[in-house]
C-alpha cells in the first residue's frame, strides 16, 4: 500500500492583511458590501503516490505551493477538495528554529519542543544528552535560548526533530543546517533516516541535490502540477524551462 496518496488535492485559503483587521473594519466592510478576505487557491489538483522508502523532490519557483502542500501532508492544513491518505507517523521539519521561546533555557526549550513533537518524557530523559551532544551545545544547556546564534538555534531544532525514526519525513529546505562541519553531519543524519526506509518529501531549490537524492520529482508552478515522475526526466525538463526563461 502506498505510504502517501493524493488524488486531485486542492487547497484554497483565505488571504488578506489580517494583522490590522479589526471587528470594526469587518462590520464596516460588511455594511459597504466589500470583502476583506480573498480566496486564494494555493494548490490545484495535485495527485501522486509514494511507496515506502521513496524520496520525493518537490521543485518549483517561489509561491508554487510547495510549502502549502507540505503543510497539508503534515496535517497542519486540510485539503479543501480531493482525497488524501498518509500512513505512518510523520516527522516534519518545517521552518526550523521558529516556535522556540527566547525566555526559556536551551534545556527547557528542548523538552518543550520534544513534547510538541509527541515524544514522551521518558524518551526525552533518555535522549536529551545525545540531542545536546549532536547539536554541540553542551556548554549552553542553561543559557537562555535568545542568547544563541541563529546557527546554534537551527542546530538544536534539527537535532530534536531528527532523533525519531519516522515513517514519513518532511523536509523544507532543511537538509543541511549550520556551518560546514554541522552541515555535513546533518545531511548524513538525514540520509541515515532516509536509508532506514522513511518515505521522504523534500523541498529544495538545489536541483543538484534533488538529482542526487530523489527517486521521484513533483514540479509545481503557481499551484498547478506541471509534472510528476522519474527524477532525471523531470529535472531535465525543469532545467530546460529555467534556461528558456
Amino acid at each position: 500500500m502506498p505510504k502517501i496518496e493524493l488524488h486531485d488535492v486542492s487547497v484554497s485559503y483565505v488571504v488578506g492583511d489580517f494583522s490590522t483587521v479589526g471587528l470594526k473594519d469587518v462590520v464596516i466592510a460588511k455594511l459597504q458590501g466589500k470583502h476583506i478576505a480573498k480566496e486564494f487557491v494555493a494548490v490545484k489538483n495535485v495527485s501522486f503516490e509514494l511507496e515506502e522508502g521513496e524520496l520525493l523532490g518537490i521543485i518549483g519557483a517561489n509561491g508554487a505551493g510547495k510549502s502549502t502542500l507540505l503543510k497539508v501532508i503534515s496535517g497542519i492544513m486540510r485539503p479543501t477538495t480531493g482525497q488524501m491518505a498518509v500512513r505512518g507517523n510523520i516527522a516534519s521539519l518545517l521552518e526550523l528554529g521558529t516556535g522556540f521561546d527566547g525566555d526559556l533555557t536551551v534545556k527547557e526549550n528542548t523538552f518543550l519542543r520534544g513534547a510538541m513533537l509527541g515524544y514522551t518524557r521518558e524518551f526525552m530523559n533518555q535522549t536529551y544528552k545525545s540531542i545536546i551532544q549532536f547539536a554541540e551545545l553542551e556548554e549552553f544547556e542553561d543559557r537562555l535560548f535568545s542568547h544563541l546564534s541563529s546557527g546554534m538555534k537551527s542546530r538544536l531544532a534539527f537535532s530534536i526533530a531528527c532523533l525519531v525514526k519516522p515513517d514519513i519525513l518532511i523536509l523544507d529546505e532543511v537538509l543541511s543546517v549550520g556551518d560546514g562541519a554541522f552541515r555535513k553531519k546533518s545531511e548524513e543524519k538525514m540520509l541515515e533516516i532516509i536509508r532506514g526506509g522513511a518515505t521522504t518529501l523534500l523541498v529544495s531549490h538545489s536541483l543538484e541535490q534533488i538529482r542526487r537524492m530523489a527517486t521521484k520529482v513533483l514540479w509545481l508552478d503557481r499551484g498547478n502540477q506541471v509534472a510528476f515522475g522519474e527524477t532525471k526526466e523531470i529535472c531535465d525538463r525543469y532545467q530546460d524551462f529555467l534556461n528558456g526563461k
Partner: protein
C-alpha cells in the same frame, strides 16, 4: 456526552507531557524567574483592595458588616476572571509560531495558560481566607461549598478564553474592545456596592451577569453563612457550560482555519 468526555480524557493523557511542559513555560514566563514576580501577583490584588476599601468604605460600607470581605470576595472573583480570560485571549496568537508549524491540539495552549491563572487565584484565595478569619467571621463546614462556584468559574473562564482567543485571531482590535468590556463588567458586578439599594426588578437583572452570580454565591456562603437556592446553583452551571459549549463549537469549526489569520 460520556463518550466525548472519555475521548477528551484519552487526548489529555496522550498530550500530558506537552501540557506539563506548557504549564511550566507559562509559569516561568509569568514570574520571569524572580521572587518579586510571584509576590507582585499577590501584592497587586492587595493594593487594589486597599485602595477600594479606603475609597468606598465611607460611601457604601459604613453600616454594613464585613465590608472588606464583601469587597474582597468581589475583587477576587473579578480578578480571576480578568487574569484568566486575558491570558486565554492571547493564548492562540502568542503561540502562532508553533501552531502554524506543528499540528497540535490548540486548546492545550489555552488550558496551560489557565493553570497559571488558577495558581494565582488559589494563592489569593488563601489570603482571602486569612482576611475572613481576621475579620472575625466564624468558619463552618458550609464553606466547603465554596468549591462549587469556583469549579464552575474555572469552566466559565476556560469557555470565555476559547471564545476570546478565537475572536482575537480573527479580529485584532478585540483586545481593545475587551478592555472596555471588562471595565464595564467591573462596574456591573456589584464589587463595591450593594444591589439591595436597587428596586427589585433591577436586582433580578444583575443575575444576567455570570460574574455577579459567582460573587453572590461566595458572599452568601462566607459572609451570610447560608447556602444559596437552587436557581443560583443552576445559573452557576448554566453560564459555565454555555460559555464552554460556544467556545468548543468555535474551536471545532475554525480548527484548521485559524492558521490563515495568524
Amino acid at each position: 456526552m460520556i463518550e466525548s468526555i472519555k475521548h477528551f480524557g484519552l487526548l489529555l493523557k496522550k498530550h500530558q507531557f506537552l501540557f506539563e511542559e506548557l504549564v511550566k513555560r507559562d509559569f516561568k514566563k509569568k514570574y520571569k524567574r524572580t521572587i518579586l514576580g510571584m509576590l507582585w501577583s499577590l501584592l497587586s490584588p492587595m493594593m487594589q483592595l486597599l485602595v477600594m476599601s479606603i475609597v468606598f468604605t465611607n460611601f457604601f460600607g459604613r453600616d454594613k458588616p464585613h465590608y472588606t470581605i464583601y469587597l474582597f470576595a468581589g475583587n477576587l472573583t473579578y480578578s480571576f476572571f480578568r487574569d484568566s480570560t486575558y491570558g486565554g485571549m492571547n493564548s492562540l496568537m502568542a503561540n502562532a509560531g508553533i501552531i502554524t508549524k506543528i499540528n497540535l491540539p490548540k486548546y492545550m495552549f489555552l488550558l496551560s495558560k489557565n493553570v497559571a491563572s488558577l495558581i494565582n487565584f488559589g494563592l489569593t484565595l488563601i489570603i482571602f481566607l486569612v482576611f475572613v478569619a481576621v475579620d472575625g467571621v466564624a468558619f463552618h463546614f458550609r464553606m466547603l461549598l465554596l468549591l462549587y462556584p469556583i469549579l464552575w468559574m474555572i469552566v466559565f473562564n476556560i469557555g470565555c478564553g476559547f471564545i476570546l482567543s478565537a475572536l482575537f485571531v480573527l479580529f485584532k482590535d478585540v483586545q481593545y474592545l475587551y478592555d472596555i468590556f471588562t471595565l464595564m463588567l467591573m462596574y456591573l458586578s456589584a464589587i463595591f456596592y450593594y444591589t439591595a439599594d436597587y428596586p427589585e426588578h433591577v436586582q433580578k437583572l444583575f443575575y444576567l451577569n455570570p460574574l455577579y452570580v459567582y460573587i453572590t454565591y461566595i458572599r452568601a456562603i462566607v459572609i451570610d453563612g447560608y447556602i444559596p437556592g437552587l436557581p443560583t446553583h443552576f445559573l452557576c452551571a448554566f453560564y459555565a457550560l454555555a460559555a464552554l459549549g460556544v467556545g468548543a463549537l468555535i474551536y471545532k469549526k475554525y480548527n484548521y482555519k485559524f492558521l490563515y489569520y495568524m
